[in-house]
């Protein structure tokens, strides 16, 4: 039997209402027992043992409200989303690409990206450009606020000293990070024996 929200009516016979009331109390117990500490629970009745979110495209709750819900993310998987009804924002806070070049969302709406690449060498084609991946399952920056770049060893020659430094020159284009690479111990000078080696990049922005 289902929960009945319109009983008992004034004209209902008691022998009809009895069964319906019995069922309603049973339904209340069952439904409240989903996700919640049940009546008289030592955990505190009404508190949440867990919060379970079926996927649904929840709407804007309006100014003054926050809404947490599950829906399909850019990853193609069900993710947890956070809507801020006042700010009008909607962030997929559990989405991430867990790879050596990857990214993660945060509940604040900040997008963190990281990656590495092999660079041609010091002084080669300055500035050099690192391009963020743009697969359908990647979340792109709409604004890139900050980035850093660091030289790393040639993966094939990890014991060889790397005679280079790198520094960011431009993050204005959210699709790329531009950087210069020079020889470490001489100002504005190309290196002599290091190429290729790797660059490691970290950036913060918003999706």
């Amino acid at each position: 039997m289902a929960y009945l929200s319109t009983i008992p009516q004034a004209t209902d016979a008691k022998n009809v209402s009895q069964a319906q009331i019995l069922e309603n109390f049973s339904q209340i117990y069952t439904v409240f027992g989903v996700d919640h500490a049940i009546f008289d629970s030592p955990l505190g009745q009404g508190y949440h043992q867990q919060a379970t979110f079926p996927v649904n495209a929840a709407g804007n709750p309006g100014a003054g409200f926050m809404r947490l819900y599950a829906n399909t993310g850019v990853t193609g998987n069900p993710e947890l989303w956070l809507r801020n009804g006042t700010a009008g924002t909607n962030y997929q806070i559990t989405s991430a690409s867990k790879n050596s070049t990857g990214w993660t969302m945060t509940p604040a709406g900040i997008l963190i990206k990281w990656g590495s690449a092999t660079t041609a060498g010091t002084g080669a084609g300055q500035p050099q450009t690192f391009t963020w991946p743009t697969a359908g399952t990647d979340l792109a920056f709409s604004t890139q606020y900050w980035a850093l770049v660091q030289i790393g060893a040639d993966p094939a020659l990890p014991n060889k000293d790397v005679n280079a430094i790198a520094y960011v020159t431009n993050v204005a284009n959210p699709a790329i990070v531009q950087y210069n690479v020079w020889r470490r111990n001489l100002f504005s000078t190309s290196g002599t024996n290091q190429n290729p080696f790797s660059v490691w990049i970290l950036a913060f922005g918003t999706p």
Partner: protein, 210 residues
């Protein structure tokens, strides 16, 4: 307040059912008052004023394939209760776990809702002429949540604070992070090729993984 089931039965008199029904309506009201907008209250009754999660031990098993958010007591961690979540595939992800000691020489971390783990450490002093490569093994520095996979790392020179005596004479760079339990990197003199730094200095590391 107790909640009564299995009533009213067909043979029950109204006078017997009345107090049980009264008790049940009171129990329902009290139940809703925990975390929810109450019956008859301003706003939308049933919505959540907040969500309070008692720490569970042992962990609930998610078998319905939906996202679940819950709190878990972890006796071995300094902060014993965290919010965890399952994704729809039933995989466990951390949500708010962290170790923020603020102390030098201790592995700090925060775990984001996506499950991504950010870990960092600062070592204030490092002897000059340090052997290369240098291997930092996270477990040697109180790491409470080891990486299973380490995706990215950066190593940066740091003045030997609080007594900043020397100009920093080192350059550092990562050479290998394939082992999730350690970071391998080089320390060389900043301005001399293939030469150990002259003066003591420190470094700080940031790593990203799961």
């Amino acid at each position: 307040m107790a909640y009564y089931l299995n009533f009213p039965l067909a043979a029950d008199y109204m006078r017997d059912s009345q107090p049980l029904m009264l008790a049940n309506y009171g129990a329902i009201f009290d139940f809703m008052g925990a975390d929810h907008v109450q019956f008859n209250a301003a706003g939308t009754p049933g919505q959540h004023l907040q969500m309070t999660f008692p720490g569970l031990n042992p962990m609930q098993v998610n078998s319905n394939g939906n996202w679940q958010l819950f709190a878990l007591n972890i006796a071995t961690d300094p902060l014993s209760t965290f919010l965890f979540s399952f994704n729809a595939a039933g995989l466990l992800k951390g949500f708010s776990r962290s170790n923020l000691s603020g102390n030098l020489g201790v592995a700090n971390f925060i775990q984001l809702p996506s499950g991504i783990l950010l870990k960092w450490i600062t070592l204030a002093t490092q002897a000059s002429g340090a052997p290369n490569p240098f291997r930092l093994q996270w477990l040697n520095y109180g790491d409470l949540l080891p990486f299973t996979t380490q995706y990215w790392a950066g190593v940066f020179p740091l003045a030997t604070f609080p007594n900043v005596i020397y100009d920093e004479d080192i350059v550092t760079y990562v050479t290998d992070i394939s082992n999730p339990l350690q970071i391998t990197f080089k320390l060389w003199s900043r301005y001399q090729f293939n030469t150990a730094p002259t003066y003591p200095s420190g470094f700080t590391i940031l790593a990203i993984g799961v």
